[in-house]
């Protein structure tokens, strides 16, 4: 059963140059306990999609469509209801812990804040719960560490604090936005293991451009390009038998898969290309690709692709 069901989601915000269509008619669902990876290049709209789910975008943003969480339409929920759900039901682990943590609050206080707010614990109890959380994310000497400020921690430690905050109120759905950005290889694999362990039995949406990360953690991967989903399948199929030329190009640009770049740059989200959005960078483009906009089609069970080559 779908825990989260995103139907025809369109998120756009005004800019001096025109309306930026960051998310364009996206359909996506996450089942209970499922781990979904959302991958794509910088600026393809994946973070905006994540922020749309928790409604953390600025007031001028227009969000259309439906986001059903346990059959509650998030987009119609009142602000109060939403505040209640954030952290407790759906938690977001924001990218870049350096700027996402409050620099003038002790990390223990930052975690305890959410705990006392959602679970009604007294200050002292909330603090000890926060220390427990720090222990759960394997921060050594957690009782002393809780008294430290973000600047006293390393990048990997800060990411652990972010994860502890996300998990603090035992949410059903966790959205992690680039949790391994800026970490070196060893810290990265530790964080991946940690996410893997601590989020078992929970639904997880990982937003990343790192296919390695998505491949290790996720059951299913959705590929996003210029605001649209282009392909959706099990991690195994995406990594080993991708159908869309963009997914193939993306995989081939990995250093471990040959470091072959996709030519060109990602298109504007204000005036996206006519026809297929990838056609001007696609090595397999045919005539019709520049005219007809492809629809998402299910090629085989659970493997969807948006490409005219498979029509």
């Amino acid at each position: 059963m779908a825990l989260l069901d995103i139907i025809d989601l369109r998120t756009c915000f005004p800019s001096p140059d025109g309306l930026v269509k960051a998310v364009d008619t996206v359909d996506l669902h996450i089942d209970k306990g499922e781990r979904l990876g959302l991958i794509g290049e910088t600026g393809c709209g994946k973070t905006v999609l994540g922020l749309s789910i928790v409604r953390l975008l600025q007031a001028t943003t227009r969000i259309d469509g439906r986001i059903l969480y346990n059959d509650i339409d998030i987009l119609k929920a009142s602000d109060g209801k939403m505040r209640h759900m954030r952290g407790k039901e759906i938690a977001m682990i924001l990218q870049n812990p350096t700027t996402s943590l409050n620099p003038v609050l002790k990390i223990g206080d930052q975690i305890a804040e959410a705990i006392s707010l959602h679970q009604g614990y007294e200050r002292k109890e909330a603090w000890s719960k926060a220390v427990e959380m720090l222990e759960a994310v394997k921060i050594p000497n957690s009782a002393e560490r809780a008294h430290q400020y973000p600047h006293e921690l390393s990048g990997g430690m800060r990411e652990r604090v972010m994860i502890a905050m996300g998990l603090a109120c035992n949410p059903n759905l966790i959205i992690a936005d680039e949790p391994t950005k800026g970490l070196d290889a060893r810290t990265k694999s530790q964080i991946i293991d940690l996410i893997h362990e601590t989020t078992s039995k929970k639904a997880l949406l990982i937003i990343t451009h790192d296919l390695g990360v998505a491949g290790t953690i996720c059951d299913r991967i959705a590929v996003m390009y210029a605001g649209e989903l282009l392909e959706e399948a099990s991690s195994d199929l995406i990594l080993n038998d991708p159908l869309h030329p963009y997914t193939r190009g993306f995989i081939n640009s990995l250093p471990s898969r040959g470091l072959v770049p996709i030519p060109g740059t990602s298109p504007s989200l204000i005036v996206p290309p006519q026809g297929c959005r990838f056609h001007n960078r696609c090595p397999q483009a045919i005539k019709i690709c520049s005219k007809k906009h492809p629809e998402m089609m299910e090629i085989e069970k659970g493997h969807k692709v948006r490409c005219l080559l498979y029509n």
Binding site: A185, F250, S253, P255, S256, V260, P261, T265
Partner: protein
């Protein structure tokens, strides 16, 4: 056969001290020795905090080492007079991690690339000539002529890194230290920039020290790899070409 070593580093050390009464030393680089042949790329890998960036900065003499010797084309950089060092500087350049902070935010892209010419690093050259040189450089690094009049904030990270490369080529150096040049870029742009660096290296016959924490990336970029740990080089090995091309 006699091989020309462009870079020869021996027993290089850089200690940072803190505290007045109870002095504590951080051994960022603790006795590092290596050579780089002309036209070779040496990869330097290690975890964050192992001292690899410090090595890169020491090589270009951006920071003063505690002790050791750095020979650049037969000249010891340590103890060199400022004026003599300045003469050598155009021959060695650095690509930094974050392209946005390597470019002057108040200079148009064209102005940034023109700076080495204006400073006279390429000899006397008229404005008209500079313009055509910039046009060539912009093309070499894969940017469009319209980018010349933009500011860094108007370009993406990948495009800015291309600008940095164009500016470096304008100086026409022999040796480049690339310090995680794609750390701030995503996978597909990383591939583009790394391919570009590879091609430029070949076309301009550059010698390079390539610093990264990603072993896979280093494997693609280097002829030899040095592994750093806690301020020391713990292993040096050559890269077998067919090994890293197997999946192409």
């Amino acid at each position: 056969m006699f091989v020309i070593q462009l870079i020869e580093v021996s027993d290089l050390k850089k200690y940072y001290s803190s505290g007045l009464i109870k002095k504590q030393y951080t051994r960022a680089v603790d006795g590092v020795s290596f050579q780089i042949k002309k036209g070779e790329t040496l990869g330097l890998v290690g975890e964050s905090g192992c001292g690899k960036t410090t090595v890169g900065r020491l090589l270009l003499h951006l920071i003063e080492p505690t002790s050791g010797k750095i020979m650049f084309d037969g000249v010891n950089l340590i103890g060199l007079k400022k004026r003599e060092l300045r003469k050598l500087r155009p021959r060695m350049q650095m690509i930094f991690q974050d392209p946005e902070s390597s470019l002057n935010p108040r200079m148009k892209i064209g102005e940034s690339i023109a700076e080495p010419f204006r400073l006279g690093l390429r000899g006397k050259i008229c404005t008209h000539e500079i313009k055509s040189q910039i046009k060539d450089l912009i093309e070499i690094v894969g940017l469009n002529p319209e980018h010349v009049n933009r500011y860094p904030y108007q370009l993406s990270g990948g495009q800015n890194q291309r600008v940095v490369l164009a500016r470096i080529l304008a100086i026409n150096p022999e040796f480049i230290v690339a310090d995680e040049p794609t750390a701030a870029l995503d996978v597909s742009v990383q591939a583009q920039i790394l391919r570009l660096i590879m091609n430029l290296k070949k076309d301009f016959g550059l010698t390079m020290l390539f610093i990264s924490h990603d072993l896979e990336v280093v494997r693609h970029m280097s002829d030899r790899i040095a592994v750093m740990e806690m301020g020391r080089i713990v292993a040096v090995d050559s890269v077998k070409r067919d090994d890293c091309n197997r999946s192409v």
